[in-house]
């Protein structure tokens, strides 16, 4: 996984609340294999009309935000379905950070596993960022994970993130390598647990 330390990029405001993972990646694209091309269907039904033409009013379709690396959104971004392909779509499009007052838990977890930062700010702060970006669409926004800071023109905010997720993103750890280093402990746990909870194994089906 690519590590996340700091990004400076244009930021696209999507101020709506409750942008669920069905909006980020509609279910009919869940069959797509992982080939780095999920970005094409990011926000598909919000970005394109029924004839696959771009909706000009969707912020990410505006020339100033087309190459955004950051999204600023309303509360409960990424709620709903656990589809990790929603994260693939954002990442493949080029988004490296989403700033919002709250996130779907599973979405945030998936994001962390793929090098996408989910930065939590207050409702007032996300609102102020949206206002500033609407006024100055091309403002460069800097998000620094080590100092947990967001800078957008005059605005300077500190965002929150679960410390464990922060550590993971900063290091770009591969989970499996970390887990395998605990193979001995896993083996010992399993042996003790099988004695303590014999009922936890599925009983052979008749």
């Amino acid at each position: 996984m690519e590590r996340f330390t700091c990004i400076t990029a244009t930021a696209c405001p999507l101020p709506a609340e409750n942008i669920d993972t069905d909006q980020i990646l509609p279910a009919r694209y869940l069959k797509l294999p992982r080939k780095g091309e999920h970005g094409k269907v990011l926000f598909h039904d919000l970005r394109f009309d029924m004839t696959d033409r771009e909706r000009p009013d969707f912020p990410l379709n505006r020339p100033c935000w087309r190459d955004a690396g950051i999204i600023v959104s309303g509360r409960n971004f990424g709620g709903g379905s656990s589809r990790e392909a929603a994260v693939y779509a954002l990442y493949d499009y080029g988004i490296r950070c989403v700033i919002a007052p709250s996130f779907g838990d599973i979405f945030s977890q998936n994001a962390t596993k793929n090098g996408l930062l989910t930065a939590v700010v207050s409702e007032a702060e996300s609102g102020a960022l949206v206002t500033a970006l609407t006024r100055e669409p091309t403002s460069a926004v800097t998000v620094d994970l080590a100092s947990q800071s967001i800078v957008c023109g005059e605005l300077r905010y500190r965002f929150t993130i679960d410390p464990a997720r922060r550590t993971r993103l900063l290091n770009g750890w591969d989970d499996l390598d970390v887990t395998r280093s605990f193979a001995e402990q896993i083996g010992a746990f399993k042996a003790a647990d099988r004695k303590a909870r014999p009922w936890a194994l599925p009983s052979p089906a008749p």
Binding site: N76, S102, Q109, D175, Q185
Partner: protein, 468 residues
């Protein structure tokens, strides 16, 4: 004296292998996989890895399976590929599969419990957000993404940050004709679709104790719609009665020991929660959603909200967007909303009790709109047919189909057309969830039946009064 612990604390501790940098490595007791788990299997293939504990892993074909023409070849090649890919992956890895031709097939969150694979005290994961359903048994159960599915397949463990603890207490008796879905929507309307974000929810109180296992599963299923990491109900005699004789449940001495262990699975007196919410179940009305998030839920005697009365401009904009998408007008009475079709199905509300409650309303009545009934599992289907419920649905004008996720997520081809309005027993009224441009109102099975009979959203209580 030891510190009183919550049920969640106990479950967490029992599964904790090691701690590192604010995360814990947890042991996974059950891992359910489905057609959508293909990303994870691909990662195993890339590494040439094998599944660590295939006997703790179970496959179910549910997301893409057709609900008609069972037994015939799948017509759509893409869907056929999704189903055969799961068959191949599970066969290669020695994983038991409840596939399309298996009499135990159904929706994973219906099948796991009915086979006794889901038990109190287990840690259960699946690459599906509605895995929270299994918490109804006092299990710690939650949905995970593809990276985590791959990690569990390869190690039978998972890194997790410990969530905060939240208790939602519902006391009192639900009114006649109301069920767990009404309670779930009332809770989500109260705390919001992110109200439990970062929290493990324990449902407690006399209203919860009074729910059947089916009802508890509906409630825990919807915990994710409140943003919770999981929903849990402490096991009790209702739980133990349900589990007796289930195929994969412990038997003999193992069952005796299990029951002893399960008795301790409850929050200690005086245990501290990070957040407490209470709700008076006696005041809960039949709930329906009007908008595009499960939090957009109101009692059926309510009206579509008026954005102009909102203080916050962002909130007003959200409401207006939802009203526009749903093709509604502010102030419109919910019972005046005409529907085009109904759907009874999904991991939320397609168990036998759900089908019975819908059939009770539909008996000797005719629906004004078409609709589809997809039982939660093949076993539920057989039982419903033994009880004659299939005839009730058919006589009322609804289609009786096979089991799968069907029109809840629409990826098997069961879709609501653009602009159509569907009264649905499912869990998500998101934009486009049941099809591009589809408009979904979620509610209980009885309320969907009432809407089908009336042709518009309707108050179950008025139909019950007319019938008696």
């Amino acid at each position: 004296m030891t510190t009183p612990l919550t049920l969640f604390d106990k479950l967490w501790t029992q599964h904790e292998i090691v701690q590192r940098d604010g995360e814990s490595l947890l042991w996974v007791d059950r891992h359910y996989v489905h057609e959508g788990s293909f990303h994870a299997f691909s990662r195993l293939a890339e590494r040439g890895a094998m599944v660590a504990e295939p006997e703790l892993t179970f496959g179910v074909a549910d997301h893409y399976v057709p609900t008609r023409g069972r037994g015939e070849p799948i017509a759509n090649p893409e869907i056929a590929r999704m189903v055969s890919q799961l068959e191949q992956n599970t066969a290669d890895q020695g994983i038991t599969l409840f596939g399309l031709k298996d009499h135990r097939q159904g929706i994973v969150h219906v099948v796991g419990p009915e086979l006794g694979l889901t038990l109190p005290g287990l840690l259960i994961v699946c690459g599906d957000s509605h895995t929270s359903t299994h918490g109804a048994f006092g299990a710690f159960a939650f949905g995970i993404g593809a990276s985590e599915v791959a990690h569990v397949l390869m190690t039978q463990t998972l890194w997790q940050q410990k969530p905060k603890r939240m208790r939602i207490t519902a006391d009192g008796k639900l009114a006649e004709g109301l069920g767990a879905k009404d309670l779930a929507l009332a809770i989500i309307a109260k705390i919001g679709a992110d109200g439990a974000a970062g929290h493990a929810i324990e449902f407690a109180g006399s209203a919860i104790r009074g729910l059947s296992m089916e009802g508890r599963m509906t409630l825990c299923n919807m915990a994710i719609e409140a943003g919770g990491r999981c929903g849990i109900v402490a096991p009790d005699t209702t739980t133990l009665e349900y589990l007796k004789g289930r195929a994969f449940a412990p038997k003999g001495d193992a069952l005796d020991q299990a029951m002893e262990d399960w008795i301790g699975l409850k929050s200690d007196c005086g245990a501290q929660f990070d957040r407490e919410v209470s709700i008076d179940a006696t005041t809960v009305a039949p709930f329906v959603t009007w908008g595009t998030s499960p939090e957009d839920a109101l009692p059926i005697d309510g009206e579509v909200p008026d954005p102009s009365r909102e203080q916050s401009p962002d909130r007003a904009k959200y409401l207006q967007g939802a009203i526009d998408y749903m093709g509604l007008k502010p102030g419109k009475k919910l019972t005046d909303i005409a529907i085009d079709r109904v759907f009874i199905g999904s991991c939320t509300n397609a168990r036998i009790e759900d089908l019975r409650s819908a059939a009770a309303i539909l008996a000797n009545r005719v629906c004004k709109v078409p609709g589809l009934v997809s039982p939660g599992s093949s076993s539920v289907k057989r039982q419903a047919e033994e009880e004659g419920l299939n005839r009730v649905f058919r006589d009322a004008g609804l289609e009786w189909a096979d089991s799968g996720c069907s029109m809840c997520v629409g990826i098997n081809g069961d879709l609501v057309a653009e602009g159509e309005r569907c009264a649905s027993t499912t869990n998500r009224n998101f934009r486009g969830r049941q099809g591009v441009g589809a408009r979904t109102h979620i509610m209980s099975p009885a309320m969907v039946a009432a809407a089908a009979v009336c042709g518009h959203l309707a108050d179950i209580r008025s139909l019950m009064a007319r019938k008696s």
